[in-house]
Symmetry: C2
Subunit: 124 residues, 2 copies
DNA sequence: CTAAAAGCTCACATCAATGTCAGGGGCAAG
DNA sequence: CTTGCCCCTGACATTGATGTGAGCTTTTAG
């Protein structure tokens, strides 16, 4: 498939797909005229990249974790594991942070409800 | 306390504190010479703002949710509740997204472990 | 064959929070 | 009074993913 179809199937813009390739997150075979061609598997690949980017993982870090160009080496694998571990911890912290923010928000919501209830009471 | 102390106690830079004020997220009383002065309660206020910003909530949205300048009105409170509800949903979705990314990462970690195990096996 | 639709590259714009620098006051201690 | 530290405003820089547009080529459909 060409870039337009991959874009349609993943929701990533053509621009983004080219950017992913530029960052080493995605490979494509080129037709003789230079057009990018993709296989089914690349759909999943893009979804993975999207999930990581949405999780706030930078493209550079993704490139270190999920190499798709460089052949896997034992050393490379170990280093990737290292980074993955760090990134996993970061993700867990982020989740905790979001949960805390949500709890704070719940508190605000409750306060606001109380205010409205009191306000209605004043009208009594 | 002045801005330097508030900065030290919250970890937010002086620059950020001024920015929060500019965005309507924080108020300060000014001394005759124009210097900002804060009370104890503002420490908590800044922490709340920090938590929301870290959760990816924009300063504009925070300003709509946790007004500190405009007097609370009933209408205003209802509207704030509306926004809070939306934002809460967004947060929950974000948490789910992060959890999914973490799961994907766990999968990659497992793959990598398997690769290393196989690699060690090859050495046998 | 021709026109529309889709691709390519290159380059510049955007957004939001924050960093940083410049030029100028304020205030306490020697 | 001066030295040193903190504060003020205002402006420009940064980062990273993405949008957008220009100018040009390829592919596809009629």
């Amino acid at each position: 498939m060409r870039i337009g179809e991959l874009s349609a199937r993943t929701g990533a813009s053509r621009r983004s797909l080219r950017y992913y390739e530029e960052q080493g997150l995605l490979v494509s075979s080129r037709s003789s005229s230079g057009q990018r061609h993709y296989e089914e598997e690349h759909v999943q690949r893009v979804r993975l990249v999207q999930a990581f980017l949405a999780a706030g993982i930078s493209s550079g870090t993704i490139a270190e974790m999920a190499p798709c160009m460089s052949e896997p080496t034992e050393d490379r694998a170990r280093q990737a594991l290292d980074i993955m571990g760090r990134e996993r911890a970061r993700l867990s912290e982020a989740i905790d942070g979001l949960a805390a923010a949500r709890a704070a928000l719940d508190h605000l919501i409750e306060d606001n409800h109380a205010y409205l209830a009191r306000s209605a009471d004043d009208d009594r």
